[in-house]
């Protein structure tokens, strides 16, 4: 009989397996033995619970801060422990009792059962998010159970056995355990040794052949040995090291904002069985894109609540991933509810461009947007983008001495400013605009019917969430709705807003870039422009782009792009290539929500770290990272197929991500040079 100490989990399990044949009963401590927490301090879980209770109290008309709730909880729990200590050797407390008293004190109501249920469910949810089963010891526990040994989980904690069972079930080994025993039910704890005779008597256990395994030298080592059973005490050096690191990230982040995002990532990290070997793209999705997109969506949620936005539309196709990320992460940050409804909206520049002309016609600004991509050069491209019938417009072109193949883009050879002037005169012509309006009327009506179905006009304030960059979709959408008196106020949120074309901002049409906005001078944030396509590829929905809205007799039809041509096939290949990146991003979403809820920080707290992430991964990446992440192909129909002729003597400027591998690897000043050029461009634009 006695207790032995083990300094690693594998040493303990190895010794346990040796002794296994002579055992009849094995009892395990739960926390830090069978399961570990992502956090170093279990009390940190109480902070989001305090915030939740403060929010619930606020809804009931009681104004109280989270700090006051936490203080009150601590004082009530301590009083309960002291009262228990008068009748029992251990100073234990029982969660449902002290939490019910806390809620009664706060709300002034006697019946707090429903409220207690909600708070308990939230706290258990947070606990479960933070708990990870230790693969090696759980595997041994299962072996013991299969070998017919009686397996118990005994814990000293304020949570009653019912609640512990939920945690054990979540950890995935409740079926291998005969019973879960908690000191909160009986106030007989392992700390005093009173739990052991109680368990022995209740379950008819004999001391002979009983082994207890835990991590506390007193409760799990000395006390069972005094009672007369064998004990194995785990003093896990690696686990202490891990906790020491987490502790410092969290503590340093209180004084140094830079570490807040790093602390968030430390809490998001996968452990034990979750931490499997993953491809590079998965790791980048998990460790690089997830905190950025999480921060972006957290900010969107905050702003929507501030602005009383009641519905968020995630715009296709990047919005597909944003919506899925939101569903996994954001509800944990707002457990009290009140978040806007969310919906995925099928839109695209191509689909909205035509519909936006139904009332205002084709404006000069919209025509100039069409010529931003280098692939568009003439009136045929205008017709393709705005869904116009060229044959019906040829007479108008003739009136202004224009030809469909006349070059209208300054990026192409053959450009003549005089031709462009005549084109602008045509845009000012009422006859031409009447024809444009006539041709786009049906697609506009179909679009409005679709938006009505999506409930867009049932809300006063809506938000549009998209990846970026010019805000063209929001521009076309707003212009398409401008004639309606019941149009909602639109708040647009972009991951990055480059604002290459002046956005028609108005009181009911607001656009904000979150991670980067040209209107905010942010050198680090602007590095998002290094690899815009990477963000698009990572978030793109697995369906083809929308080509337009077709009016039908009984409503409308969404018309998607064909998938069997060259562009469609290239997109499918690209989606397949980036699948691990998207998987990593979504796997991290739930952990982002839980970790951010624990820390209680906003995007502005995480921004210094996000800035570092973007600078190091986009402006100063390793050559191997570029080789693995680099997009291979990204074009859509909006871009057109013309190729501008390269001018002699002018050097084609390339971005870092377009350089060949050998240059990236062996040119030591390439990154710094390109970064300085990038900053110069941002200052001069």
């Amino acid at each position: 009989m006695g207790r032995e100490e083990y300094y690693s989990l594998s040493a303990l399990v190895k010794e346990g397996r040796k002794r296994q044949s002579g055992l009849r009963v094995v009892s395990f401590d739960l926390f830090d033995t069978l399961v570990i927490r992502r956090l170093h301090d279990p009390d940190l879980v109480k902070q989001p619970v305090a915030r939740y209770i403060a929010a619930l109290a606020g809804q009931a008309g009681v104004r109280v801060t989270a700090e006051e709730v936490q203080e009150l909880r601590d004082s009530i729990e301590n009083r309960h422990r002291q009262e228990t200590g008068e009748s029992f050797e251990d100073q234990e407390a029982c969660y449902p009792e002290f939490m019910a008293e806390l809620l009664r004190t706060l709300t002034g109501c006697e019946n707090t059962e429903e409220l207690l249920g909600r708070v308990t469910s939230f706290e258990m949810g947070m606990e479960q998010q933070m708990i990870i089963p230790r693969t090696e010891i759980v595997k041994w526990l299962r072996e013991l159970s299969l070998a017919g040994k009686r397996v118990f989980v005994v814990s000293d904690i304020y949570l009653p056995a019912d609640h512990l069972r939920t945690i054990v079930k979540g950890a995935g080994f409740l079926d291998a355990v005969e019973e879960v025993v908690s000191s909160a039910d009986t106030f007989l704890a392992k700390a005093s040794g009173a739990a052991y005779p109680f368990v022995a008597e209740k379950y008819g256990l004999e001391k002979d052949g009983w082994l207890h395994v835990g991590d506390n030298p007193i409760s799990d080592g000395l006390r069972p040995a005094e009672f007369g059973i064998d004990a194995m005490v785990l003093k896990d050096a690696a686990e202490r090291r891990r906790k020491s690191i987490v502790k410092r990230y969290i503590n340093y982040s209180k004084g140094m904002p830079f570490w807040r995002g790093r602390a968030l990532q430390q809490l998001m990290l996968p452990h034990e069985g979750e931490n499997e070997r993953q491809p590079a793209l998965y790791r980048e999705g998990y460790g690089f894109l997830a905190p950025i997109i999480g921060g972006f969506l957290q900010h969107v949620a905050e702003r929507c609540l501030e602005q009383s936005v009641t519905k968020i539309f995630f715009l296709s196709r990047e919005g597909y991933t944003f919506k899925r990320f939101w569903e996994r992460a954001i509800p944990s940050l707002y457990p009290q509810g009140g978040l806007p409804e969310i919906e995925y909206l099928y839109v695209s520049r191509m689909a909205l461009a035509g519909a936006s002309c139904a009332h205002q016609g084709l404006t000069q600004t919209n025509a100039s947007i069409a010529f931003l991509p280098k692939g568009n050069r003439d009136f045929r491209d205008i017709c393709r983008i705005f869904k116009l019938d060229l044959d019906a417009l040829v007479p108008h072109l003739k009136r202004f001495e224009l030809h469909p193949d006349d070059c209208l883009s300054a990026q192409h050879s053959g450009y003549d400013p005089d031709v462009e002037r005549r084109f602008h005169s045509m845009l000012a012509d009422e006859g031409f605009q009447a024809e444009v309006r006539k041709q786009t009327r049906d697609s506009s009506r179909a679009m409005i019917r679709y938006f009505e179905d999506a409930g867009m006009f049932e809300h006063q304030n809506i938000a549009l969430v998209d990846i970026g960059w010019l805000g063209t979709i929001q521009r076309f959408l707003y212009e398409g709705l401008e004639h309606r008196k019941d149009r909602p106020r639109i708040y647009g949120f972009l991951l990055g807003a480059t604002r290459g074309v002046v956005f028609p901002s108005a009181a009911d049409n607001i656009l904000e870039g979150v991670i980067y906005d040209k209107f905010r001078f942010d050198m680090a944030g602007s590095t998002v422009l290094y690899a815009r396509d990477l963000f698009e590829e990572a978030c793109r929905a697995p369906h083809p782009t929308l080509n337009g809205y077709t009016l039908t007799e009984d409503g409308y039809q969404l018309e998607f792009r064909q998938e069997d041509d060259e562009t469609g096939r290239a997109e499918q290949l690209q989606d397949k290539y980036f699948e691990p990146l998207q998987r990593g991003l979504l796997d991290a979403a739930q952990r982002y929500g839980a970790a951010s809820a624990i820390l209680g920080y906003s995007i502005w707290d995480y921004k210094p770290w996000l800035n570092y992430l973007m600078v190091s991964k986009l402006a100063f990446p390793r050559s191997s990272e570029i080789a693995k992440i680099q997009h291979k192909y990204h074009l859509d129909d909006f871009h057109g197929k013309h190729k501008p002729a390269s001018k002699r003597g002018t050097k084609q400027l390339k971005t870092l991500w377009e350089y060949p591998h050998y240059q990236l690897k062996y040119n030591p000043f390439l990154r710094v040079r390109l970064y300085m050029r990038h900053i110069y461009d941002r200052i001069c634009e």
Partner: protein
């Protein structure tokens, strides 16, 4: 194929040494707003914890009392009141 959480309890692909490198670069090239940055003392502590502390923890779990005595003795010397 690598694990996201490496054996040094660090982020694979974004280790503390990379933060050190970027921190040093930010002293020469204006990289943007890091709101005070990582701070050299914090960086040193994390580099120590991630890369060299396993020996300390190996010793600590085996000789806890001695380690605690040494810790309080060092605090008395290093932390001035």
């Amino acid at each position: 194929m690598k694990r996201i959480f490496n054996s040094n309890y660090d982020l694979t692909g974004n280790e503390n040494l990379r933060i050190c490198k970027t921190f040093l670069l930010s002293k020469v090239v204006p990289l943007g707003c890091f709101r005070g940055g990582p701070g050299p003392r914090c960086l040193l502590m994390f580099v120590y914890l991630h890369y060299f502390s396993h020996i300390m923890f190996w010793f600590m779990v085996r000789h806890e009392r001695l380690a605690l005595r040494m810790h309080s003795w060092m605090r008395k010397i290093l932390v001035r009141r």
